[in-house]
Symmetry: none
Subunit: 193 residues, 4 copies
DNA sequence: ACATACGGGACACCCCGTTTAT
DNA sequence: ATAAACGGGGTGTCCCGTATGT
C-alpha cells in the first residue's frame, strides 16, 4: 500500500467530466470510481463530505482550468477577438462531443442552487472568477470600472446562455451568432490597443 | 370511479414545478405523485412513456405558459422595455422563491441534452418558441429578418445566462445588469414605434 | 408475476431464525433475503418500516409460536412439570444447535431496549404473553392473583437467565439445574390438581 | 510523544460502556475511539486482536468490577439481603439511565455465543466469577456444596432474567418482584449467621 | 381510471483493518 | 506510541417500471 496515491485527483477529474455531461444527480459514486479506476473503498477517506464535496471540488477544478484558458486568451488579443474565439471553440467542442461537453459548471449550478450550500458556492466562485478575468481585461483596455463590470457580466451571460441553447438545439448556431454579436458589441465599446 | 379526472393535468403541473427547482434526475415519480395528490396507480396509465414523457410534457407546458406571457409583453411595449421588464420579473421571482424558481426549462435542457431525445426536443421547442416571439416582435418593428434572428438569439441567450448567474450567485444583480444592457442595446438597434 | 406471493412470510421466518442466533445488528437484509430465497427488490414494499419492522414482526412471530407451545404444555401438566420440561427441551435445542438457538427474543430485546421503540415493544409483548400463560396456569391451580403474578415472573426470569447462562457457558447445566430448582419450588407453592 | 499513556485503558472503559448499551455489533471502533478521546492510530497497536479483543477485555473489566461489588455485599450481609439489595440497585441504575444500563455482559454474551470464541469465553468467565461469589457466600453460611451450586445458579439466573425483563418492559417491576422472591427463598434455605 | 403487489437494480454511506511514516 | 492515508466490502434505503385486478 503506497503512502500516498493519486486516486483522489483522478476521482475529482473523472467527476468533473461526468458531471459536465450528466449533472450532479445523475452521476453516481460508482460511475466516478469506475471511470477513475480508483479503489472503491477510498471515497469516504478522501471525501468525508460525500458526493457533495467531490463534486464541489470537481466544479472548482473545472472553474480554475477554464479561468487559465480565458486569461491566456485575454492576454493575447482584444476582448472582442477573444470572446469570438471562445464561442467558436466552445461550439466545436460541443459538436465534437455530440453535444455533451457544454459548460462544466452550469448544469451543477442549476441543479444545486437551491439544495446545497457547498456546491452552489463552488459554482458561484467559478463564474465569478471568469467574470473577473473579463472585467480586468476590459479595464486594462481603458473601460471604467462600472462599464467593465456591466459589460463583462453581459458577455458571460450571453456566452453561457448560448452554450445552453446550442446544447438544447444540438446546433452550433446560437454560439456562432452570439459570438458574432458580442464581437461587434465589444469592438464598439472597448477602445483598441 | 369517475371516467375522467384531472389527475393527469395535476401531475404534469406538479412535475413542472418540481423539475424547475430540482431538475430531472433529482425529481422522483413518488414526489410528483405525492405533490399532485394524484393516485399512484395512474402514472403508467397516463404516461406510458415513463418519467421521460411526464417531464417532456411538463417542459412543454412551462414553455407554452411563458410564451404567452412573452407575447403579451411584446404586444404592449417596445422590445427594449419588454425585455427589461422580463429581467426584473425574473429577478423578483427568483428572490422571492429563495433562488429556487429560475428558468423552468434550462435545468432539464442541460441535464438531458445528451441523454434523452424526447426531453431535449421538448426543451429545444420551448426555447425556439420564445426566440420566435422575440424575433417577430423585432421584424414587426422594422428589423430585417437576419438582424432580428441574430438579435433575438443574443437577447434570449443573455437572459438565460443571467438567470443562471443570478441563481448561482443568489443575487439579482446579474439579471438587473443584463436587463439594463439589453435595454440599451435593443433601443439602439430597433426603430421606435 | 403472481398477484401475491409468500415472499413476505418467508422473509419474516428467515429473519426470526437469523436474529435468534445473531441478534439484530449482525443480521443484514442481504442475509435475510438470501436465506428466504425472496426477491431482493421487495423488502421496501413489504416492509416500508425497514429492517426494524421486519425484525419486530419476526420477534412477534417467535413470541406467538412459543406462546402456543407453552400453552399446550401448561394444559397437559402441572406447571412444575411443564417448566421442567421446558428447561429440558430448551437445553437440548441449545445443545443440538451448537449453542446457537437460545431464546428467540432475548438478544433483540437487549440490543434494542434503548434504541428502537417498535422493536422493544414487540419484545416486551412476547415476554408478557409468556408470563401471562404461566400466570393463568397458576391461578387455575388455585394460586392467588398476587402469588401467581410474582411466581410466574420469577419462573420466566429464571428460565430466561438460565438460557443466557447456558448459551454463554456452552453447557446445558444451568438450564438443568434451574429446571430442577424451579420444579421443586413450583411443586411446593402450587396446589396439586 | 509519551512512552506510555492511558489510552488503552480509556478505550477499554469506553467500550465497556458502549457495549453495555448497544451490544457488540452496533458498537463501532470509531465510536469507541471518539468516546474515549483516544488517538485513532493506536487501536491496532493496543489491540492486535481487533474489536473482538477490545470487547473481550471490556467484558472482563465489567465482570471484575461487578465481582468486587458483589463480594463486598456478600461480606457484609446475609445473601438474602445482599441479593435483594442487588436487585434494587440494578433497578434504579436501569431506571436512571432510561433503561440503557442493564447487565454489562449479557448482551454481548448472547450476540457472540455462537460467533466468537474469545468473547464468549470472556462472558462465561464473568458469569462464572459472579456465581462463584454467590456460591462461596452460601457455603460459608453452612450450605452443602451441592446446594450452594444449585441455589447460586438459580439466583444468578433469576437476576439476569429479571434484568432482561425489566429492560424489555422498561419497568423496574420484574427486578423488584424477583428480588423479593429470591430474598424469601434464600432466607428459607440458608441458615442465619 | 385507479389500486395494489411486486421486483431488479442502484444509491450514498461507512465500517473495520492495514500499512506506512513519524 | 501516534498519526494518517488507504482500501475491500457491506450497510440499509429507495427508485422506477410493470403486472395484475377492480
Amino acid at each position: 500500500m503506497p503512502r500516498t496515491s493519486d486516486s483522489r485527483q483522478r476521482m475529482v477529474r473523472s467527476a468533473a467530466q461526468l458531471v459536465r455531461r450528466q449533472g450532479y444527480a445523475a452521476t453516481g459514486w460508482r460511475q466516478v470510481v469506475t471511470a477513475s479506476t480508483a479503489p472503491w473503498g477510498s471515497q469516504a477517506h478522501h471525501f468525508p463530505g460525500g458526493k457533495e464535496q467531490l463534486v464541489a471540488e470537481a466544479v472548482t477544478l473545472s472553474g480554475a482550468r477554464f479561468e487559465r484558458l480565458l486569461q491566456a486568451a485575454m492576454a493575447d488579443a482584444h476582448p472582442a477577438e477573444a470572446v469570438q474565439l471562445w464561442a467558436d471553440v466552445a461550439a466545436s467542442e460541443l459538436a465534437v462531443s455530440d453535444w455533451a461537453d457544454g459548460c462544466p459548471v452550469a448544469t451543477v449550478a442549476l441543479e444545486t442552487a437551491h439544495t446545497s450550500e457547498v456546491m452552489s458556492t463552488a459554482c458561484a466562485a467559478a463564474f465569478q472568477s471568469w467574470q473577473d478575468v473579463l472585467r480586468r481585461a476590459m479595464t486594462n483596455r481603458g473601460l471604467t470600472e462600472a462599464d467593465a463590470a456591466s459589460l463583462s457580466m453581459l458577455t458571460l451571460s450571453a456566452i453561457e446562455g448560448a452554450l445552453l441553447l446550442s446544447r438544447a438545439n444540438r446546433s452550433a448556431e446560437p454560439l456562432r451568432v452570439v459570438g458574432r454579436e458580442l464581437q461587434a458589441l465589444l469592438l464598439a465599446r472597448i477602445p483598441g490597443p
